[in-house]
């Protein structure tokens, strides 16, 4: 059937009284010029968009999408992403996306839920996740209390991980820090840069022990 007839079919399944809103739906998903075209001749991206249009047929407040960008080319991914953002921001539709494409999710999601072996292992807002994943310097020292005092003095943001390790965020004045720690009889054992990606966050979460 054509895209338009597919939507009419869905309207009938839902028992909607008229076909009002179909042209607007097609325009919303970017298929206004393809309404009369048979769906079997659609590209994968167009089919995905038609699928979203069918899901929107009943004016839902909540949409559940399973791998919406699977198999799409980069252009298609961008189109779907922009459509979902439009649905959320302009039409106030909440969207639940199930996806393995972490990079794509990082551009879209406001809340994350990580599932492993059928269970939800972590739910986290995007802002918190971004904080957890930002670039930092991992310092291994002999005394983290001394380190904390020195970092407070230098007005640097940090997280103490253990008795000997800490993550430090921002530009570190290495010489000043070293001198401050030396005064407090604290030695720096090692120092390296670390940037957590969403992928490494996920792997740490589900693959090799808990991420704290």
């Amino acid at each position: 059937m054509t895209a338009e007839n597919n939507l009419k079919h869905q309207y009938q399944v839902l028992g909607l009284p008229s076909y009002e809103g179909i042209p607007e739906l097609l325009e919303l998903v970017g298929l206004s010029s393809a309404g009369k075209k048979r769906a079997k001749n659609f590209s994968l991206g167009m089919r995905q968009r038609l699928g979203i249009a069918v899901a929107l047929a009943g004016n839902p407040d909540f949409l559940v999408l399973d791998e919406p960008t699977n198999g799409l080319d980069p252009q298609g991914i961008i189109e779907i992403r922009e459509l979902l953002l439009r649905l959320n921001r302009r039409h106030q539709i909440t969207v639940l996306i199930s996806s393995h494409n972490l990079d794509e999710l990082s551009r879209l999601a406001t809340h994350y839920g990580f599932i492993a072996k059928g269970s939800m292992v972590r739910e986290i807002p995007a802002e918190e996740l971004e904080k957890s994943c930002r670039k930092c310097m991992v310092l291994k020292v002999t005394d983290t209390e001394a380190l904390a005092r020195a970092l407070d003095f230098l007005h640097l943001e940090y997280d103490i991980l253990s008795d000997t390790a800490a993550n430090v965020y921002g530009e570190i004045p290495v010489s000043e820090l070293s001198l401050a720690l030396a005064k407090d009889q604290c030695s720096i054992l090692s120092m390296h840069e670390q940037e957590e990606t969403l992928e490494s966050y996920y792997i740490n979460l589900v693959g090799g022990g808990r991420y704290e």
Partner: protein, 264 residues
């Protein structure tokens, strides 16, 4: 269920396979009548509309097996099945609305054939010579058998999710069934005596074996359609009961397993 029926019939009228099927059945009806007309004109053979009027019963078995399976199976492919469940329709309602659509489509395909026979046949070779009551009984009986066939194909198509496997199962089952009942008919038609009436033939089957063969011949939809195409009313009540039984049983089994089926 009315919403589902409305949606199914909307899809049916847009379905190319159905429209091609209607055209094919009309063409088949017209073609067979025309062949009879050629016999009449070319060789002076006495022909009547009776000889072609009920042949649809044999053709519809194959056409219906192809159509029913492909019409329903696309719902799995396109996710329409899940859409209907998400919209709040019960599995039983989905099953029976699909069965109704299949049955209606198959009956319309039969009517297309009959229309060709009437529109083309009557002007060319005249009307039916069979009595009206017998004609109506044959039509009723054959339509019940078509319903039984649709129930069977619906059950297969609703339980087999694969778009490739379901039509193959329906079509192969149909052809095997046709081949089987043709062989059963051949066996049952063996004469009891030699042409001079003196000696029993060795190929005649009687007793329990004959009863079993007759049961199968009357119970299987392919056997029923073969008898209707030959305008045989002898076992009509029995065949109608078998058709009703097949319809009820296949529908019950189909709904039962469809309710338990995981829909992906």
């Amino acid at each position: 269920m009315s919403k589902l029926l409305y949606a199914n019939f909307f899809r049916l009228w847009k379905n190319r396979l159905f429209l091609v099927g209607l055209g094919f059945m009309f063409f088949a009806g017209g073609f067979l009548v025309f062949q009879q007309y050629r016999q009449l004109v070319g060789y002076g053979t006495a022909v009547t509309l009776d000889s072609t009027f009920f042949v649809y019963t044999v053709i519809i078995e194959v056409v219906s097996s192809i159509f029913c399976s492909l019409f329903l199976n696309v719902e799995y492919n396109d996710g329409t099945m899940r859409n209907k469940m998400i919209a709040g329709h019960t599995r039983a309602a989905i099953y029976f609305s699909n069965l109704t659509a299949n049955a209606a489509a198959s009956l319309l395909l039969c009517l297309s054939y009959l229309l060709a026979n009437i529109v083309i046949g009557i002007p060319l070779i005249g009307t039916l010579t069979l009595a009206l009551d017998k004609t109506l009984l044959l039509l009723l009986g054959s339509m019940l058998t078509v319903l039984a066939l649709c129930s069977l194909f619906t059950m297969i198509s609703m339980l087999i999710q694969s778009k490739a496997i379901a039509p193959v199962v329906c079509i192969v089952a149909m052809f095997l069934s046709i081949a089987f009942v043709n062989e059963v008919q051949r066996i049952l038609e063996q004469p009891k005596y030699w042409y001079d009436g003196t000696l029993n033939t060795t190929s005649y089957v009687d007793g329990a074996e004959r009863e079993v063969l007759e049961l199968l011949y009357n119970a299987l939809p392919a056997g029923q359609e073969l008898q209707y195409s030959g305008r045989n009313l002898e076992n009509l009540p029995e065949m109608c009961l078998y058709s009703a039984g097949i319809t009820v049983i296949t529908s019950a089994v189909g709904v039962f397993f469809f309710r338990k089926k995981e829909i992906r």
